[in-house]
Structures are given as structure tokens and as C-alpha cells.
Symmetry: C2
Subunit: 619 residues, 2 copies
């Protein structure tokens, strides 16, 4: 019967315990796969089911989970990604991040869909997973090395220049709470400090290699969608031409660009650091993830004074804003260097940039002084200070040790007055868009289980005007048009729908930038797995995962009070178009409550109703 | 653009005011059509928007609305139906009924999708709608005539033997609160007393004739679905072979069959009145609605003693149970006569049977006596009494005048002790299935805006075992299997989904018996209209209509307390498998509250949250 086939999706789990160096392989059945799907669904399930309450994120009981989905590794743009999750050392809630490149597709070819890393190695190790085999190898010689050195050394010693490496650099080793995990040299599982979890386990890297292309139950729909994407690249033409950051000048004009720790609005240097300028200046090429025709990854090269290595790719929009405008910096070469350093050290550029901006605002307000910074004039616009802080944070040296804790913890140590400069939700520093110009993003920042994730931006702004997303909305029966300012019930319903689609993408795991509709995704899932799926089934799966994520955070002590924005967003900007437009807290609170209603959570407490938990059959 | 086309769907409204004999034609735009769809959606919209609070159902301010949908009249089984609605004289809430036959398809060919009848004629009239023209014609000579005479007289005097007539008989004229409207001689808009509304307007009939087949934007999917239906008649083979009532013996065995006013369980005579027996005895053929290959309509003939006219068709399951087992009667010929009489007089057989059973139980308990009944021994099992009461009720003679008010009103007049014998919700007598054996039906009876409608049965029992409905459920991601006994959160979620599908069918307007999936319906809607619709859009439309229906009833003074079952269902049956299985009121109450939650209504009051009303953009 169709519902018992699982064509190209075996759902095989590799479990590795680093404490006792044991490994085991678990199989899953079709009902499990169809209930949790993959990626974010798997990560959430295992963390909910297997982690005890109050687990130390940096202790051996935390679990680091790498998860693929049913579409990983098939010949389709956007399918090369993987999801990684753990309890976050930054938020103490759930962390999950999706990351591109080739690692995910390679793990699929090695025969596994999930790798669960448990325990803690006595000494640094790395994993070597290849064609169903797994080894735990010494990584003493890799410890302290940056990402490029790590990858090259592993490739050399294993004698395979095509193996793929997910690794941490010094920031992960030093347990910087917002260290990331790098797939290759410029694909980043950025948010929530997953690199620190990896470092705490003494796990330097996971190298993978495989030769078994995933089976596909019915390849024709996959071929069709691939051809459709090739014929419709114009739908994502900005990504093709510029990568991320094409619209930064418009962002600044609209008030969406964070300037000096989200304090200001006007940033005259914006043109100097935008993606079109990068194309015309330091860009030497574009790169891509597995099977992707979009090729949105900038490659840049800078000679003196910064000597930026093209191997580390180039800065994404979030990096340009976080290290750039948000720190008051418009020196493009310095930003490229900052991006390279963060990648080399495995630092999340968003949190790093936001933490540095936070520190700069503290400094300018006298909450930090040159005594604290070892003489660094930590002022907005000081690119040398920014670059120096990246070094210090990655190594936890000097002021870097404090800032490595993240903005929220650092603020608590600096003192009450500093707290309003920490632009974060649940401890996660905010992505580089301003909810004052789009309150739907504000709702996303508030209720997103991982905190103020940059991915929340897709919840709102992409649904304005005429584009493929708006067309899909109409098709799904959502009322259009929406305005940016709207944060009423229809916008909340839109938000929930979009959030479900994003969770679905994170579970499949497919890139959120690709213009696939729910229907196209469903058709390909059905084609690969042989399941008779529908959009409503996929939406339901996403709803289950979202509610399970909520339950995880509640178990860790989060309450509805944690679904709140930092005070800055309720203040006007100092200049620019939002100078008299702070967010209205009552409107956001109202939207939050209605979101709870739509999710089947208690309107006041945000706790999923027992009936909803039972309905979704959450264990 | 696709979303502005409305291919085969003009949505033209004919408005007739009988008070001043004016008519007008209104056009609708695409956004209106796509928001309310048709049928039940239109009926609900116009009643919500145009009726004042507290309108007298039998006064001139009530409106009687005949509505078609986008699929009406296309060459596809199930497409010949229409919806009729008004404020109910039985429940004082919203009434709507769907009815088969040929009238709907014919009205479509005459150029209209909606007929709104307002006011009250000074003298009996009928409407003559033909190829865009409309006339208000004298019906003085038709008043008092039964349905067959009425249809024949109109056909003769208008000189067209192929025109279609929707009419009332004496029960409608005499304002029996559960009078129905007859399409032809055996297709019935049965529930809620729409025939009385028609009678109160002095409107005897609406005759229609047209020659313009509805345009179809893309005919291929319609052809494909028609062919699919022809090739898949086995999915509804019981309907093809027996019509309704094939499983009556199994119903009795399972406790689902109402016996003696839902009091008892065992009914040995069941085999004598079931559809297979009808096939082997009095059945002389099967008939069908417009374009339908299922042909589920029994035609029966009985000579002495009852002389049943085959022109009036044969008894459906609901009739066999309501006039039969529920009155303790197993004389098939008498039941066929009862069915004929109800059709001839325009009496809803379900309410009529349930009211008669109510009266029989009152009589057997001494609450009514032969003094009240003019000597009729009104005991269970007395088929002559049953037939006599149909006559008396239709003419409001003797005890019939009291019983013409419906069970709830009659009980209030007879006295407190009688009230527990009135098996009704919101005033509507219960359909012929027992919620004690399937509590999901109980939830349907409770929250259905029209009361304990027989159509609520589709909410539950059809989703057991392996059939096309269960297959669709799986496809839609609903957890299966369900058990009959289950009334937990998953069952409530199933209920809501199924309720939405039924409302969708009632809006399209398509027969609920046909095995079309959401996807097939969506494809055909898109094909006919040229709209880029999706299942989620159609579900959303259904959700809007349901909430609008709720708002209508709330405006009329209904509260959550009206969403309650009669006491009988919380009592055990006297015998049979349910002898120790009454419903648990706490479980039903819990299910009701969770249903409110899923609908976005207040959990306690059942009032739609203002945010939900805004989200659905209800005027």
C-alpha cells in the first residue's frame, strides 16, 4: 500500500556516544517518518523525548543532533541542507539551525538521515562517517585550528579531497555561547550556539563521505520541478545576481536596516556595503550549494589591508548589517574580513555583530570604558575595534570573555542600565531587520521558540506586492493584500501559515529562499517517499513540531512572559522614517495572544492545551 | 489573471419581493463569489447580512433563499442540487437544507444562481422563472393541492412538461413548522420548516426552465471526474443497489437504530423494513437526480391496502426509521404510504416521524389520552395511527394542530414531563442515528447550527474501517484509525474537518453521498470557474460560513447552553447492546469546548472571538 512505502527515505539513525565511544544504528518505521518528517521535526522530537529537564547545554547530557529530511540529497536546488539542533547554551531553550553546502547531501549518500551525538569525549575527537561506516578519531592535532585548516587536515589524513566536513573553530572550542557549526568554509548553522555544544563535547568535526545516491520512488516529479526551477530563476533573480543584500539601500530608506544597535535610522554609508556594490568591487565569483542553480553565495577577495581569503566566501546580508550598519561601520573590506574571521573561528556573525554593537553602545554610554576593553575605543564606526573584538570573543580573551556570553548575559553582568542595549529575545540576538517597520516580524521574534532568529523575517515582508509568495498566499486562500504595518488577526493568521511553511522547509530540509510552493513541495515529497501526502498533512506535521518545540521550552521554564521584545523596539528611532514610530506594545501583545489561540495554546499562558497535545499525538 | 476570471460562474441574483410584486437582478463580483462560494455560503451570507434580529420566521421580513453553487448543473453526478435557507420557524435559528432532483440544474440554465424571496404575497402566487425572465403568477387554484397536482397543473398551464417545480403542499400552506419544500415529487429540502416559510409568504411554487448550459472554463477535468465516477461506482455500491437503508439490520445490531422514540434498542421487525427487503418486494425501479449515475432513489409501488403512488418515489432510510422503527412500526407498506403522504403534503419525514414517536410515548405514559387524540390509540406500533397523524398534522386538525408545532413546542404545551420525550436539539428533531453508539454524531447534533440534523451522521460513522473517506482522511494527514466510541481531541479535529467538507459540499452544491475527495472537488471548482483555488482556500471558506452561521444564531439569542443533547441520550437504552451505555455528559461537554477552541470561538461561551471574525473578514 502506498502509505507503507517509503521509497527514497530510510530514516536511518546513527547514534554516537562520545563518553564511551559507542555507536549504534537505529531504524525508524514509516509511521515515525511520516509523523515527524525530518530535519527540524526530528531534532525537536529527539530533544523533547530524550533530554531531561534542566540539562546543562554545555554538559555531557545535552545531545547534538544532525538531521536530514526526505528531500536531502535529491537532484533539486535547495536540497543540500541539513538541520542541527541541541539545547541552546545561549537561550537555554531549544536551538536549531539549518545549513547549506554539501554536507547534508553527503551524509545522505553515506547512508544516514540522523546523527545523534551524546556524551562528551575525554579528549578532542572527530567523527568519520563513510558509506555506512563510522569511526571516532583523535582530533588533538586539530584543536585550536581554524575551519579551513581543519577541513584540509582531515581531507589530507583521510586521503579524500571530496569528503565534507562540519566543524568548529576556536569559538566553538572556547564555548562561546553563540559559536556556530560550519559546513565547509562558508555555510553556517549559525544561531543558538550549536558550535559551543559541539565544543563542549570535545567534538571538533564530523567528516562524511558516501556513494549511494538516495533512491527516489518516482523521479519524474523531481525532474519536472528541477526543470521548472531552471526555467523560473527570474523569481529569485536578486539572489542569482547579488546573493543576499540586494535591497539594502531600500531597507535603509524604509527604516528596516538596523543602524548602531537598532538605535538610529539614517545610514549614509549604506551604498558602500550593499550587495550590488560588492558585485562591482570585491566580488570575484559566486558559489552554490549542492544541486543548486541559484548560486547565491558570494565569493570575495580583498588584498591589503585586510587580506580576505576567498575560500571563506563572502558576507551575507545579515553579516553586512550586523557587523556593518549595526556597528556604524561602512568599510566594506573590513566587513569582508569580519565575515572571514567569523567563519574561520565558527562565530555566528549575527550574534557577534549584535553583541559588538551592544558593547559599543555600552561604551558610548559609559557603561564600559577603555579599562574594560584593554584600551579599545569601542565606538560605533570603529572597524578595527570590531575586528579586534571578533578575535577576543573567539578566544575569550579580555573583554571577549564577557562578550562571549552573549548580549543578555553580558548585560546582566555589566548592570541594569546595559540591559536595554541588549537587543535579544530569549537570549538570542535579533536578526537584522527592524520590527518597527514590520510588526509581523516582531511577532516572529517574540514567539519563535529559538528567539529573535533572522529567519523570522520571512514571516512578513516577503508577502507584499506581487511575487511568487503572494501568489501562493492567494492560492491558499489567505486574504491579500497585506500591508507591512498590519498586525491584526489576518496578519497573525498569515504569520501562522508562513511559520508552518518555514518549519516544513526546515523539516524537509529545503532552502527557504527557493520559490517552491506548498504544492510543489508536496508533490516532490510524495514522489520521493511514495507517500500519498497532502498540503494539509504537511501543515499538520509542522503544527505538531511547533507545538512540541513549545513544550520543550516550557519544560525548561519558559513562560509567555519570555515571548517579549526588548524595550528598544518600543522606542522611536533617533532619525529616519521611523523617528516617530515605535511599536505599540498593546498591539503586539494582542497579536501574540491571538497567535496562541490559533495554535490551540492557552490564550493567557501560551501553554498548549492538553487537547491540542492529544490531538497532535505528541508523546 | 486567473483569479479574476470566473469562467462558468456568473453568480447572478434574482430578488423577488412578493409584497409589492417587484423583481430585480443583481450581479456579484468575483471577490464575493470566491469568498462565499455558493449554496450554504450564500444562504448564510444573505441571512446574516439582510435579516434583522428577531425577525418573525413566518412574517414578511423573513427571506427565503434558493442558492446554487459553482458546480450546479455541470455534467457531473451530484451537481443537480440546490440549497434553500431562511430563518427557521422550528428553531428560530438558521435553517438550510440541500435538495436534489433537477430544479437546481434547471435554475442554472434559466440564468440565475440565487433567488431571494422577500415579503409576502397578498394572495397565493407562484414564480415562473424561464431563460432570464421572471413572472409572479396567481396560485389561487393551486392552494390546497398536493405536490403532484401542483406540478402537473403548472406544467399544463405553462405548456411545458419539462419545467421543474419546487413547491409546497398543504403542510407548507398550513405553516406546519417542519413543512418541507419539494423539488419535483421525491426530492426534499426537509429540515427546519422551509416549507412553512414559503407558505407564510403565500408562495405555492417556483417553476423554472432554461436552455443555457453553464459555461465551463476548462471542461477536461469535469470530463475526467465524470469518467472516474463511472469507473468507481463500486465505492458507493450500496447506494447504487439499494439506495439508502442498506445497512439497517447492522444498525439495529449495533444500537444505532432509533427504536420507539430512541428509547429501546431491539427491533425484531427490522428485516421487514430494510432497503434490501424493499428491493425484493415493493421496489419497481430506481430513479436519479440530474446527471447522476448512482441512481439511489427508490421507486416503490403498493396496491391494496395502501395504494402508494410510484410517482412519489420510495422511502429513504431516514423515513423508514423515523416513521418505522422509531414509531415501533415494521409494516413496510404502511411506511411507503407514510413516505408518499409526507411528500405529497410537503412534510419532513424525519421531524414528522419523531414528533409522532414523541406523541406515542406521551400517550403510553398518560400525558396524552384518547380525549386529546380524538380516539386514536396512539401507541407504538400502530401504523394506522401514524398515517392518520400525518394527515392531521398536515392539515393542522385535532391533535395535529399541536403536533404541527414540533416536538419541543408541543412538549412545552403538554407539560414538563413530556419534555424529556422530545428528542431534539435547538428545536430540530433528531436524525435517525443514535449518538450513544457514536458520540461524534452527538457532538454534531449539539453544535450543528441547524440543530440535530440527520446530515450530522456523516460527521462520524463513515470514517471507520477501510473506505474512500478513511483513505482521504489519511491523505489529509488526519490520524487514523478512529473508533466509534472515541470522542477525544482527535475525534473533535476529525469532526471539524468533516464538518468543513460538508459545508463545502453544501456550498458547491454537491451531493454528500458522492465519493469525491477534497482534491477532486477543488480541481473541478478550478476547472469550472477558472480560479486558482486550493483545498486550504476551500476549507477557509467553509470555516467562514460556519462562523457566520454561528453569528446568526447568536444574534437570535442562542447561547452555548443551546448546544446540548436531550436527556434521552444520557440514559441507557431499555434493551439491546446499549442497555448499559448512556452517553457521558462530561465527555460531550469537553468535546464541545474543544470544538469551540478549534473554531476560534470562546471556549466557554462559544462566541466567535472578534479576532477570528476579523481574520475571516466577516461583514
Amino acid at each position: 500500500m502506498a502509505e507503507q512505502a517509503n521509497g527514497g527515505y530510510s530514516g536511518k539513525i546513527l547514534r554516537v556516544n562520545l563518553s564511551n565511544k559507542s555507536t549504534s544504528v537505529e531504524t525508524t518505521d514509516n509511521s515515525f517518518l511520516r509523523k515527524y518528517l525530518g530535519g527540524a521535526g526530528f531534532v525537536t522530537y529527539f530533544l523533547w523525548k530524550e533530554l531531561g529537564q534542566g540539562t546543562d547545554p554545555l554538559g555531557p547530557d545535552n545531545k547534538l543532533i544532525f538531521a536530514l529530511g526526505p528531500l536531502t540529497g535529491i537532484p533539486l536546488p535547495g536540497s543540500g541542507r541539513n538541520c542541527i539542533g541541541a539545547k541552546s547554551p545561549l537561550t537555554e531553550g531549544i536551538a536549531k539551525s539549518e545549513v547549506g553546502g554539501f554536507w547534508g547531501a553527503e551524509l545522505k549518500r553515506a547512508g544516514y538521515d540522523v546523527v545523534i551525538v551524546e556524551g562528551k569525549a575525554a579528549k578532542p575527537v572527530y567523527l568519520w562517517i563513510h558509506d555506512g561506516e563510522v569511526g571516532i578519531k583523535d582530533a588533538g592535532h586539530l584543536w585550536g585550528k581554524n575551519i579551513k585548516e581543519t577541513q584540509q587536515t582531515i581531507r589530507t589524513e583521510l586521503g579524500d579531497n571530496l569528503l565534507r566536513v562540519a566543524a568548529i573553530g576556536p569559538a566553538g572550542e572556547n564555548l562561546v555561547r553563540y559559536a556556530c557549526i560550519m559546513n565547509g568554509l562558508f555555510d553556517v548553522a549559525g544561531r543558538g550556539g550549536l558550535g559551543a555544544v559541539m565544543g563542549a563535547k570535545n567534538l571538533k568535526a564530523v567528516a562524511v563521505r558516501g556513494h549511494q545516491a538516495p533512491p527516489i520512488s518516482n523521479s519524474q516529479p523531481v525532474t519536472e520541478l528541477r526543470k521548472w526551477m531552471a526555467a523560473n530563476l527570474h523569481l529569485v533573480k536578486d539572489f542569482c545576481e547579488y546573493g543576499t543584500g540586494a535591497a539594502m539601500e531600500a531597507f535603509e530608506a524604509a527604516g528596516n536596516l538596523p543602524v548602531r544597535n537598532f538605535r538610529d535610522g539614517v545610514f549614509p554609508g549604506i551604498k558602500k556595503i550593499s550587495a550590488p556594490t560588492i558585485k562591482d568591487t570585491i566580488r570575484i565569483g559566486m558559489d552554490a550549494c549542492f544541486a543548486c542553480t541559484v548560486r547565491c553565495k558570494k565569493v570575495v577577495q580583498v588584498k591589503e589591508p585586510y587580506f580576505v581569503d576567498p575560500a571563506y566566501g563572502g558576507p551575507e546580508y545579515e553579516t553586512l548589517a550586523a557587523l556593518g550598519s549595526n556597528c556604524g561601520i561602512d568599510n566594506l573590506e573590513a566587513l569582508a574580513k569580519g565575515s572571514e574571521l567569523c567563519n574561520a573561528y565558527s562565530l555566528d556573525t549575527i550574534s557577534a555583530g549584535e553583541v559588538i554593537a551592544f558593547a559599543m553602545e555600552c561604551f558610548e554610554n559609559g557603561l564600559l570604558s577603555v579599562k574594560d576593553t584593554d584600551g579599545i575605543e569601542l565606538r560605533f564606526g570603529n572597524e578595527e575595534a570590531m575586528l579586534k573584538l571578533i578575535e577576543l570573543i573567539a578566544r575569550r580573551e579580555g573583554i571577549g570573555d564577557l562578550l562571549a556570553e552573549g548580549a543578555a548575559r553580558a548585560a546582566r553582568k555589566i548592570g541594569k542600565a546595559a540591559e536595554e542595549f541588549a537587543i535579544q529575545v530569549k537570549g538570542l540576538e535579533a536578526g537584522m531587520h527592524d520590527p518597527r517597520v514590520k510588526p509581523g516580524l516582531g511577532l516572529g521574534f517574540m514567539v519563535n521558540p529559538q528567539g529573535a532568529d533572522h529567519c523570522c523575517n520571512l514571516h512578513d515582508t516577503m508577502y507584499i506586492g506581487e511575487n511568487w509568495r503572494v501568489k501562493e498566499l492567494k492560492h491558499l486562500g489567505m486574504p491579500v493584500p497585506f500591508s507591512l504595518e498590519d498586525i491584526g488577526p489576518r496578519k497573525v493568521a498569515l504569520f501562522k501559515l508562513v511559520q508552518q511553511k518555514l518549519i516544513l522547509l526546515d523539516s524537509l530540509v529545503v532552502c527557504q529562499f527557493l520559490p517552491y510552493s506548498f504544492e510543489q513541495l508536496n508533490d516532490v515529497v510524495a514522489a520521493v517517499t511514495g507517500w500519498d501526502t497532502s498540503i494539509t498533512e504537511l501543515m499538520r506535521i509542522a503544527e505538531r513540531t511547533l507545538t512540541m518545540t513549545r513544550l520543550f521550552n516550557l519544560r525548561e521554564g519558559f513562560t509567555a512572559a519570555d515571548d517579549k521584545l526588548p524595550p528598544r523596539f518600543f522606542q522611536p528611532k533617533t532619525d529616519g522614517v521611523l523617528v516617530d514610530k515605535p511599536l505599540d506594545p498593546a498591539k503586539l501583545e494582542h497579536a501574540k495572544r491571538y497567535y496562541y489561540v490559533l495554535m490551540g495554546w492557552d490564550e493567557g499562558t501560551g501553554i498548549p492545551k492538553p487537547e491540542k497535545v492529544a490531538e497532535l499525538d505528541i508523546p
